[in-house]
């Protein structure tokens, strides 16, 4: 600079905040405001789900127990009354009263008894099935998310290369109905090639225990369902990440990183992909609900002993307590998964840590 104006202010204009975006002082590393907002939302969703659950059996013509009785004639009237009170369907009480009772039962962890499973408590029935679903589907979903996101990142980075061809292929695999894909897989790999067993979580005659043989069986039985889930859901993640990459690659900071002489790999992972993955995590959170839907179909196709199968069996047998219980548990697990995704997001995106929106 050849000349410097002499009468410049000496005070630091930055501290005064000459622009609208002043530096946030005393920021906290934990995004309390963000998390509190999300917590309120989840509580509301939970309430909504539970309330839907309460009203569903009451929307039907007649009540669940009479329907059940009409098909199982060897139940005594006394047993029927007992069932009604267990299900909270005492028709002589006011609706509000029933609602309060229902919450009371819920908070005590009492989801009623399952007519289908010999009047065993619903919680017990579900807790046997839940680990299978969570294990298999959780694993497959995470694998699919990881492969899809990393793959989408690479495809986006190498746009215009032959890798672009992957996108239509994975999208096609995502548009065919999952149950058909599963059935085809069974027809090809189990029936004709005999590589994998047809359905179930482990072989007949096995007892769940922590032995190498049993775990081997579980893996052998789980491979086909897991692979089909990955194949069917890969496309969405890949396309989403690729599209996000194309957007992020045009950002100035990517250009800056290249001007800084950073190697391509570093630009790709630390600058481009690191930013492109954020919307992926958000859509991951929101799509968990859809994933669960797929689970039910998977468990039907592969006769897998998880909660989805439980729900279908309960639906066919009109076992309302079990249906309600399963729906509640599914919703709860979706919410928990959502919270986990949210926390991950909050820590990956420093902007959520802002104290003021």
């Amino acid at each position: 600079m050849t000349a410097v104006q002499p009468q410049m202010p000496t005070q630091d204009a930055l501290e005064v905040g000459t622009t609208a975006t002043t530096a946030v002082k005393g920021r906290s590393r934990i995004p309390w405001r963000f998390l509190a907002g999300r917590a309120a939302f989840y509580l509301f969703t939970l309430w909504a789900a539970i309330t839907i659950n309460f009203f569903l059996p009451r929307m039907m013509k007649g009540d669940a127990v009479s329907q059940y009785l009409s098909r199982n004639r060897n139940v005594s009237p006394e047993a029927a009354d007992a069932l009604r009170s267990l299900l909270g369907l005492d028709t002589d009480k006011a609706l509000l009263h029933q609602y309060v009772d229902y919450w009371g039962l819920l908070l005590r962890g009492d989801l009623g008894v399952s007519l289908l499973h010999g009047l065993r408590p619903v919680t017990e029935v579900i807790s046997q099935a839940l680990p299978w679903t969570v294990g298999l589907v959780g694993f497959a979903t995470l694998v699919s998310f990881a492969i899809g996101t990393i793959g989408g990142g690479i495809v986006g980075w190498r746009r215009g290369s032959r890798l672009d061809g992957l996108i239509p292929v994975t999208t096609f695999l995502a548009t065919i109905p999952y149950f058909w894909l599963g059935l085809l897989a069974i027809a090809v790999f189990s029936v004709n090639l005999g590589w994998f067993p047809i359905g179930k979580a482990y072989g007949v005659g096995m007892r769940p225990e922590w032995t190498a043989e049993f775990i081997g069986q579980v893996i052998h039985h789980g491979t086909l369902p897991a692979v089909t889930i990955v194949i069917a859901s890969l496309g969405g993640w890949m396309l989403g990440m690729r599209n996000m990459m194309l957007t992020v690659l045009d950002e100035d900071y990517v250009m800056v990183a290249q001007a800084k002489g950073l190697p391509n790999k570093r630009v790709l992972w630390r600058y481009a992909a690191r930013n492109a993955v954020l919307p992926q995590i958000q859509s991951f959170a929101l799509s968990i609900g859809f994933i669960v839907g797929g689970t039910i179909v998977m468990e039907m196709v592969f006769s897998y002993p998880g909660v989805g199968k439980l729900l279908l069996d309960a639906t066919n047998a009109k076992d309302y307590a079990l249906m309600q219980g399963v729906f509640l548990v599914i919703t709860l697990s979706v919410l928990v998964a959502n919270i986990l995704a949210d926390i991950a997001y909050a820590f990956l995106d420093p902007r959520t840590r802002q104290t003021e929106a």
Binding site: T45, L183, N243, G289, I296, V297, L311, L312, V334
Partner: protein, 338 residues
């Protein structure tokens, strides 16, 4: 002023100006459908149109009644009489697939129309309003997104003994609007703050015109995308529910055919003519719909198209878009082309 530089950078690059359209009715109509005017969308629309025709002309096209039992020809592989073979009762698979198209198309479109109406109303209103009203509509949308849809549909559907198609469509529509509403809300919020909306308000435009004439035209592509998305979801949902058996199997659609095929062990006995056609049909319609949406996506966000296409075009000229170093090429080749 941030955009100052951005526009300048963009101006450094050549922009292609489309020819000047006359503001006639036809041009207007044309521009309303501009999002479909690309190869992907047109291919998708053609496939979809084919299925719609099949659905309409099912009575003419199907060689047999879908329920006509030919006990002499059970589980026949494809032949001249039965192009796609027969079922375990001797029903003609081709006729079933043709009639099945009807259920799929009707439910798919009905559900999508309902879902789109809800999505547009909720999304645009939530996007236009401010404060707690907007927030609570958004929370409602998110609740519908988060609550797992399929289990809910299964439970609701199981409460009807014999649900008519309209009810199934309604249930699919009611559980399928949230995604569209969310996208539309975000876009409406960004539109609301644009200066041309402020200008319309300053002009004294009434609210219905601001939403109907100023905002909606700019939202059309997103609305179309959300419609196409819900058709896909509804068709997959319907066939899945039919396959599971929640929806009575006496109304024909591709899912019920697969339900029968699966129940009769077609998959284990390699009766491919029975289970391949309906599955492939669902896949084909799915591909058609995602092609349409690809087209719309690329219309909304030209970067998506141009990125791939331009990169390929560059490659042909020996340039690599990922090359962090500008290529040096003696003038000859570039000027020869010019």
């Amino acid at each position: 002023m941030t955009t100052d530089l951005r526009t300048e950078r963009a101006a450094d690059l050549p922009t292609v100006r489309p020819p000047r359209p006359r503001a006639t009715f036809r041009a207007r109509l044309g521009s309303s459908f501009a999002m479909f005017r690309n190869r992907k969308s047109i291919t998708g629309l053609a496939i979809l149109g084919f299925f719609v025709l099949v659905a309409i002309l099912a009575d003419v096209l199907a060689p047999y009644s879908p329920t006509k039992v030919d006990s002499a020809a059970r589980l026949q592989p494809p032949s001249v009489e039965h192009w796609l073979g027969t079922t375990h009762l001797g029903e003609d698979v081709l006729s079933q697939v043709i009639y099945g198209t009807r259920g799929v198309i009707v439910v798919g479109f009905l559900a999508a129309i309902m879902a789109t109406i809800i999505a547009v109303v909720v999304g645009v209103v939530a996007g236009y309003l401010r404060g707690w009203r907007s927030e609570s509509l958004s929370a409602l949308t998110n609740v519908f997104l988060v609550i797992p849809g399929l289990p809910l549909i299964i439970i609701v559907a199981s409460m009807f003994d014999n649900p008519p198609l309209v009810v199934i469509a309604a249930v699919l529509g009611l559980t399928g609007w949230a995604w569209g509403a969310r996208v539309l809300r975000a876009q409406t919020m960004s539109l609301r703050n644009r200066d041309f909306i402020q200008a319309a308000r300053a002009n004294g435009e009434p609210l219905h015109r601001i939403i109907g004439k100023e905002m909606l035209p700019n939202l059309m592509a997103l609305i179309a995308a959300s419609f196409v998305g819900t058709v896909t979801a509804a068709i997959l949902g319907l066939t899945t529910l039919s396959y599971i058996g929640v929806i009575p199997v006496n109304t024909y659609n591709w899912g019920t055919i697969l339900n029968w095929a699966s129940a009769q062990g077609a998959f284990r006995q390699n009766q491919w003519w029975w289970f391949m056609p309906p599955g492939l049909c669902i896949a084909a319609i799915g591909v058609a719909l995602s092609l349409i949406n690809f087209g719309i996506d690329e219309y909304v966000n030209p970067r998506l198209r141009s990125a791939g296409e331009r990169a390929r075009a560059m490659r042909k000229r020996g340039l690599d878009v990922n090359d962090p170093v500008t290529a040096v090429r003696p003038a000859t080749s570039a000027q020869e082309r010019a």
